[in-house]
């Protein structure tokens, strides 16, 4: 009996539709968020993440409506983010039915945002998303959907974020994102071992073996993927059966 490793499908949306692209670019339509949410809920997903990757001011009401429609379908936890810059933005997302709030660029610009969110909703509701790219032997924080470099070191930022009140780190390898060549195991392990909170690995998943590696060598607590689930490249149940057979603790709903 121990904590199960979580499998988390991610819905990247343009506000109202699920979209997908490689390296955050070249977006294509991938379906209705509520329909996909219902499917993943039934197939045994452990949690769902919904991100507004357009995150434009005028798409806010549409995105909140999307969160409501998605939450309506779920009996598992929901995290939502994209464009959350203030406590007021976060309240809207929580009121719409999200259990957790994911912040990325806005937290880099104003780290106290993490403390504000954690103070109001609790650390368990605050997910710090970090997009990192390898620079020689370290990982550099990227912002604005991975497009813009910063001078920050991802490991330092993860630790600071936890001190400020983040209850979870959603770690995306910009190098691996969309490549389907496997998670960045070294990156994931380095961050996971440096922080006291759970780490969700993201970027590069395709094969069941990739998930096995990230849960063992990568020391991840959860793993996130998008298009392989949307496109039925990988079923959640099949993935979990593979992991359980190979000795990784997962939840297989009856």
């Amino acid at each position: 009996m121990s904590l199960a490793h979580r499998i988390i499908p991610c819905l990247d949306t343009d506000g109202s539709r699920v979209v997908k692209g490689v390296h955050f670019e070249g977006l294509r339509d991938a379906g209705d968020p509520a329909e996909l949410a219902a499917r993943y809920n039934d197939e045994g997903a452990d949690e769902l993440v919904v991100l507004d990757i357009a995150a434009a001011r005028d798409s806010r009401p549409t995105f909140l409506e999307t969160i409501r429609r998605v939450a309506e379908q779920l009996s598992i936890p929901l995290a939502a983010g994209g464009g959350i810059r203030s406590l007021e933005d976060a309240r809207g997302v929580v009121r719409a039915g999200s259990d957790k709030i994911t912040v990325n660029t806005a937290a880099v610009e104003r780290p106290e945002l993490i403390r504000d969110l954690s103070g109001e909703f609790g650390a368990q509701a605050v997910v710090l998303a970090i997009d990192g790219r390898r620079e020689e032997n370290t990982w550099q924080v990227r912002v604005r959907g991975g497009r813009v470099a910063t001078s920050w070191n991802a490991l330092d930022w993860a630790q600071r974020g936890v001190e400020l009140g983040a209850g979870e780190i959603l770690l995306t390898s910009v190098d691996r994102d969309g490549t389907q060549s496997g998670f960045d195991l070294a990156f994931t392990a380095a961050i996971s071992r440096a922080v006291s909170v759970p780490v969700i690995a993201s970027g590069g998943a395709k094969l069941p073996q990739h998930f096995f590696e990230v849960f063992t060598e990568g020391a991840a607590d959860a793993a996130l993927a998008a298009s392989i689930f949307h496109d039925n490249v990988q079923s959640i149940r099949g993935l979990k059966e593979f992991l359980r057979t190979n000795g990784v603790e997962v939840r297989l709903p009856c």
Binding site: S75, A123, P253
Partner: protein
């Protein structure tokens, strides 16, 4: 079946409300003291900080009517923080008094494991449980917390372990509590809520 959900303002009650409606319950959410005393059953959900919940109960004048209703035998279900406040106090807000319906104190989980204890875990039944009736022993429930009550209280009917053992499910007379979130725990969580509604009905 009318289920009265205590909305103290600091937590998100929507998901609990939705889960109860799916089970056919007529859900009333309220922060009005008089509605607590007439409710056929009471559910106190809770996320966030313990002090926010206790302050909010006091600011809305809900503490006394809640204790009165429970002492008169109104079935009560506390979820997550809603379980923790049943005890005398919590290390998360040591300056505040809990509801004190159960003896004991809520303490932080040890630092040798990742906190919050977040995700799906199994529970270990200690004896027959009305809430867990009909739920397979290998089912998982969704947890999201850093504080927990010790596992050795007389009301504890199932435990979980993360760093140390703690109370996952408690039952005594008409008082029930779960440390996990049944409203987020898929079919197993829905079955547990249904068990509560049936007992209360």
């Amino acid at each position: 079946m009318i289920a009265t959900l205590i909305d103290y303002g600091a937590g998100n009650v929507t998901s609990v409300e939705r889960a109860l409606r799916r089970l056919g319950a007529d859900v009333r959410t309220t922060n009005q003291p008089e509605e607590l005393t007439t409710a056929p059953c009471l559910i106190l959900p809770g996320v966030g900080h313990c002090s926010a919940l206790l302050h909010s109960l006091d600011n809305h004048g809900l503490r006394t009517p809640l204790l009165t209703a429970i002492s008169r035998g109104t079935p009560f279900l506390g979820i997550c923080l809603g379980l923790q406040v049943l005890y005398q106090s919590s290390a998360e807000a040591p300056e505040l008094c809990g509801l004190g319906l159960l003896r004991g104190h809520v303490e932080q989980l040890p630092g040798n494991v990742k906190l919050p204890h977040m995700g799906w875990n199994q529970v270990q039944p200690l004896r027959d449980s009305r809430l867990l009736d009909g739920i397979g022993a290998d089912e998982y429930f969704y947890f999201a917390h850093s504080y927990a009550a010790s596992a050795d209280g007389p009301a504890t009917v199932a435990t979980c372990k993360h760093g140390r053992e703690f109370t996952a499910v408690l039952e005594t007379e008409r008082i029930f509590g779960v440390q996990f979130h049944p409203e987020k725990s898929g079919a197993a969580g829905a079955k547990l809520l249904d068990n509560f509604l049936r007992m209360a009905g």
